[in-house]
């Protein structure tokens, strides 16, 4: 079966720094693909390229059977790549429910005319948006906070809300940038269950994470970036034993 996402030879330079150099990956449908690497390895840069925030200097990019040419963030969301952010980027002064409702934007149509006239179709769509948003809040386990402003939610719930908002776009690929950062062991355990649920429900996940235990326990495949290059890829077990990975993480002298 064809991979959901495959990139070939993607590079991205910032001035003289090669944030990504000739990176190739393929992510199979229905899997959790882990992306790890030391700080500054280029993980988030790769995310930003995949979600259209950065334009790559070169390389090929195929998603869901089609070549991706115009990399605009909103087009990528419409294609089916949704993401969360390393430093949470919620709509702080909107309620949790409204945050998720915004996520429905790309899958709904009502324009200015529909909003003003509010005919039958527009009303039905609006009700469906709210219902779907409620379901998703329930799915990630924060239904009780639906009407609270996003900025008043506790940290762990904000991470969950970001995931719910991303899921509202009906992504084929859910890209999570360090979802467990700053979480304690209990919260991480609950997050792991949530991600397993999402995978079981058929959404492919691309996961950047520093929590090695979480990555090794959860991911089907793992790729390791270092200085913008992919230095290893395989099952978690293979990657763990790879001497190049050990050297990248622990330094050459210890390897």
């Amino acid at each position: 079966m064809e991979a959901l996402l495959s990139i070939t030879g993607v590079s991205k330079h910032f001035g003289g720094v090669a944030a990504l150099a000739d990176v190739s990956l393929a992510i199979e449908r229905g899997t959790i693909f882990g992306l790890i690497g030391p700080n500054g390895a280029g993980k988030t840069t790769l995310f930003n390229v995949l979600t259209g925030l950065y334009t790559p200097d070169g390389g090929e990019f195929t998603f869901d059977g089609a070549r991706v040419a115009d990399l605009k963030p909103h087009r990528m969301a419409a294609r089916g790549i949704a993401r969360t952010f390393q430093n949470i980027r919620l709509f702080a002064n909107m309620t949790a429910l409204e945050n998720v409702m915004v996520g429905r934007h790309a899958r709904t149509r009502a324009g200015v005319f529909g909003a003003i006239v509010r005919g039958r179709a527009a009303r039905a769509e609006e009700t469906a948006i709210a219902a779907h948003a409620h379901e998703l809040l329930d799915y990630v386990g924060i239904a009780a906070r639906a009407n609270d402003l996003a900025k008043t939610l506790p940290y762990g719930d904000q991470r969950r809300l970001e995931i719910a908002r991303a899921l509202a776009t009906e992504p084929k690929l859910l890209a999570l940038d360090e979802p467990a950062a700053g979480m304690n062991a209990t919260e991480t355990g609950a997050l792991r269950q949530l991600l397993e649920h999402i995978r079981a429900d058929g959404t492919t996940i691309l996961l950047i994470e520093h929590d090695v235990k979480l990555v090794m326990g959860l991911c089907d495949r793992v790729a390791v970036l270092d200085y913008g290059r992919k230095i290893a890829e395989g099952t978690p077990r293979e990657v763990q034993r790879d001497p190049a990975v050990i050297e990248a993480y622990l330094g050459g002298a210890l390897a």
């Binding site: 979600t51 259209g52 925030l53 605009k72 963030p73 909103h74 990528m76 969301a77 419409a78 949704a82 993401r83 952010f85 980027r89 919620l90 709509f91 702080a92 002064n93 909107m94 309620t95 429910l97 409204e98 409702m101 915004v102 996520g103 429905r104 934007h105 790309a106 899958r107 709904t108 149509r109 009502a110 324009g111 200015v112 529909g114 909003a115 003003i116 509010r118 527009a122 769509e125 609006e126 009700t127 948006i129 709210a130 219902a131 409620h134 639906a146 009407n147 609270d148 402003l149 908002r165 991303a166 509202a168 776009t169």
Partner: protein, 360 residues
């Protein structure tokens, strides 16, 4: 049951709500007669301009309050609407197109200008956006001021006078009419027309606020990168905000031209943009009742302060502070006070606890 619970349940009671709306409607309908009889028709004029500024402030509220785009040149769209009406319904070109056509046309032209002037600013935010929009506002005014040579289009600083009053069929808003044996001056007819349109603008604003488009605007205000990642075409949605806001501005401009019978570039200076922005900020950015309150206060209070001159001479036998100086002084103090004590405006939006059908 606490007081606020009781208040909430009172507000939910449909009979109370309808009663309140009916009372409000009665007040708004009888207001010109009450004010005209007690304070004179000059104050009815002020009421009409309150309504004009409510429309302007609600238009700017879409750009600044909802979408978070700080626009300091908003008065340009007011000017576009006003000149559209003035040029096509005055002896200046000898054209006398009907007002019912010119009002929507002026609004549309202003909306197009909104998108046109918005387009180059899409990559800017915050202070930089403010500076560029301020520049655009001035460009429009300077054009109006200088387009009298070599071909006289706008009649320059002299402005355009003898603009046709609004007329719907045989019903002219310039004359007084007999209504059930009571003579209703044309001024009152303008008040009612402005009231109707202001209510329409409030209605459209409310509908837009609670819609897919309104949420997209607020999302862009809160975090543009995240909004784009959620599938919002930020370019189009921002242009839409500029265009919608400008449309309201253009509509008010057309009404202003027909109401005053005279327009000149002097009516569309930077300070006018600043005043409209103050109405939005002072009232409560993004909160429609707050913005309406801001517009009412900032039109009525300066007019009321004119009377302090009489008051001073009555009390002290002479005028200590020129009323117009006092207005600026108090205005400055009010701004500082609001920014210190109520930085989110006099009437900001409460944390909304909306109940959707799905939870019930």
């Amino acid at each position: 049951m606490t007081f606020s619970d009781r208040w909430q349940s009172l507000k939910r009671d449909p009979r109370i709500a309808w009663g309140a709306y009916a009372a409000l409607a009665l007040v708004l309908v009888t207001l010109p007669f009450l004010v005209g009889a007690t304070a004179g028709n000059a104050w009815v004029r002020i009421l009409a301009s309150v309504l004009l500024y409510i429309m302007l402030a609600l238009g700017l509220n879409i750009v600044v309050g909802f979408a978070g785009l700080l626009d300091l040149g908003y008065v340009a769209f007011y000017a576009v609407g006003a000149y559209c009406y003035a040029l096509l319904a005055s002896p200046h070109f000898g054209l006398h197109l009907p007002g019912w056509l010119l009002l929507p046309a002026g609004a549309l032209v202003a909306g197009a200008f909104g998108a046109l002037l918005g387009a180059p600013t899409l990559r800017l935010r915050g202070d930089y956006l403010a500076i560029v929009t301020l520049g655009f506002g001035e460009i429009i005014r300077i054009f109006l001021n200088n387009l009298n040579a070599p071909v006289n289009i706008t009649n320059g600083p002299q402005g355009i006078d003898r603009i046709d009053p609004l007329q719907f069929g045989a019903f002219s808003l310039a004359q007084s009419h007999d209504l059930l044996g009571v003579a209703v001056p044309g001024l009152y007819a303008y008040y009612y027309l402005f009231l109707l349109l202001a209510l329409a603008v409030v209605f459209v604003s409310l509908r837009l606020e609670n819609s897919r488009i309104g949420r997209a605007w607020v999302a862009i205000r809160e975090d543009e990168v995240a909004a784009a990642a959620m599938g919002i075409n930020t370019r189009n949605i921002k242009l839409l905000a500029f265009a919608m806001g400008a449309t309201f501005g253009g509509l008010s401009g057309g009404l202003f031209a027909s109401f005053q019978g005279f327009v000149s570039p002097e009516s569309f200076t930077l300070i006018e943009s600043v005043m409209i922005l103050c109405m939005v900020v002072l009232g409560g950015m993004g909160h429609i009742p707050g913005v309406v309150l801001g517009a009412v206060l900032l039109v009525v209070l300066p007019e009321a302060l004119r009377y302090t001159g009489d008051l001073q001479s009555a009390l002290f036998g002479r005028v200590f502070v020129d009323p117009s100086d006092l207005r600026l002084l108090l205005f400055g103090l009010a701004l500082v006070g609001v920014m210190l004590l109520r930085p989110s405006g006099l009437w900001p939006s409460p944390i909304r606890r909306r109940e959707f059908a799905a939870t019930e």
